[in-house]
Symmetry: C3
Subunit: 212 residues, 3 copies
């Protein structure tokens, strides 16, 4: 039994590391494309990785932030940025991006689940909790793009991304109301959101556009 708990927490840590790494790398690549300097690389990678959760905690009026409680993640992010600037060449950008799609989908699900969980726990209404999940999963990328002087790709690429987190968030709420188990609901949310995102990538789904 203890073994199972151990494996569970190890698995969760592995998913968290992979997801945050994928988000941070998306920031790194955006910064590299804009030829930012070392400060900009760190700032954009930080925003991409921790911006969504930080904005959620600002809105929920929650402290401390994740990166204040777990300072070693900040040291890790700095090391990652320095390593990337030393070793990543231009031709590695695209393969990196493609390789990161799957941990990114996992991260979307995980971040959304954590956001919904926090907001529900504070007694916020279901719709708002689901939106807080979406903010957690998506607004890191939004802040990254705003600072890089782009319209956020989550708002304009006509691919289901925030929608997957939205559906996953409702799956959380539904499962939690039926079963009362937060842990199960979290797992369901990750599976639904990441699964949908994976399907969307695999089947190349697009969102409806304006009829103009």
């Amino acid at each position: 039994m203890q073994d199972l708990t151990y494996w569970g927490s190890t698995l969760r840590l592995a998913v968290e590391v992979a997801a945050t790494l994928a988000f941070a790398l998306s920031g790194l690549l955006a910064a590299a494309r804009k030829h930012l300097d070392a400060v900009g690389v760190f700032a954009v990678a930080f925003l991409a990785a921790f911006g969504g959760g930080t904005l959620r905690d600002l809105l929920l009026d929650q402290r401390p932030f994740f990166w204040v409680e777990h300072v070693h993640w900040l040291w890790g992010l700095m090391a990652l940025c320095i390593a990337a600037m030393l070793f990543m060449r231009h031709r590695h950008f695209e393969p990196t991006e493609r390789a990161m799609q799957w941990p990114d989908a996992l991260g979307l699900g995980l971040f959304a689940a954590v956001g919904v969980d926090k907001a529900l726990f504070m007694g916020w209404p279901a719709l708002v909790a689901v939106l807080m999940g979406v903010v957690t999963g998506v607004f890191g990328g939004v802040l990254r793009d705003v600072v890089c002087n782009e319209i956020p790709s989550a708002f304009r690429d006509h691919r289901p991304y925030a929608i997957c987190a939205f559906v996953g968030g409702w799956a959380y709420v539904g499962w939690w109301m039926l079963s009362g188990s937060g842990t199960q609901a979290l797992l369901v949310c990750v599976l639904v959101a990441a699964g949908l995102r994976g399907l969307a990538l695999w089947r190349d789904w697009t969102l409806p556009a304006w009829k103009v």
Copy 2:
């Protein structure tokens, strides 16, 4: 007497709905012009309608936000976005924009009054309270434009907009100090700000430019 209160609260609700609708539509149109997808349309409409009040509440450290307390407004906004994406054609953008100028002016006055009211009630100094009114009325549009990758039109179109909210805010402070009645002051603020904005639109006033 009860009738009067009933009509008063109905009127206020009608003004609130019209004002929020005008702000949300400004977001919708901006999103449509940039060809954003459904997620972007909702996000930008949300920012335009509720961004100013949310930023004010963040600065004042007030919770819950309006849209957390009144979740049905969020459902309404979603329905509006879906309806707009289905039924609004390109040729309807301009007429919509012109038709929205008057509820928008009302909204500017109403939002400013609510912002000044909240900040004064918390004991903030008069100038800061007036600025909080301006933030409530204007920063929804500022956030909308920043996310759409434009310089905020409130900062650059040389039309009196924030200035009207600023003057209206001082009218609030003045009336409130003389009469002690918050309700009257709120009404005065709406009249002054919306009236000035209407005058500015009608007479085509412009702000002084840089002497270069």
Copy 3:
């Protein structure tokens, strides 16, 4: 002895005024370059001067903000904006910018020191406190550039700016741990950060770029 305290507080006030003035002027110049109107000029000057400290206080969940406690600074900023719009001509932009480099370096050091001080006092970890110092010193300019629809120059000009604040912040932490005196540590931080920034300007140092 009383004389010394008097001179100390006068000196500190002078440094604060010069530093805030330098930051506000950087906002004014950015607004002038983009031909913003009076509202935009004030908004961008405000963000440049007070945006970093305000963001830090939002993150630390601290109130009141500096500009709420000291409202006369807001009146001063308004007067400055009006004076600048009346009297500053295009040909004065560049000399102003160069003349402002030294008070700006002082401001970077001072703002960073105040930020580190506040965060350490609240018990946040050293690295986070140093980053809060950097945010205080640098994010006014970042917000200024985001609103002006530019990639923040602090992230892209390959000159040591945030790095100077970062090193100065560690100098604060180190001195404070050794001596226990916050006042001394504040002075050391200002000297190190402003000194480094001055050196970087004088010797024309650049940050390493991406190897592409």
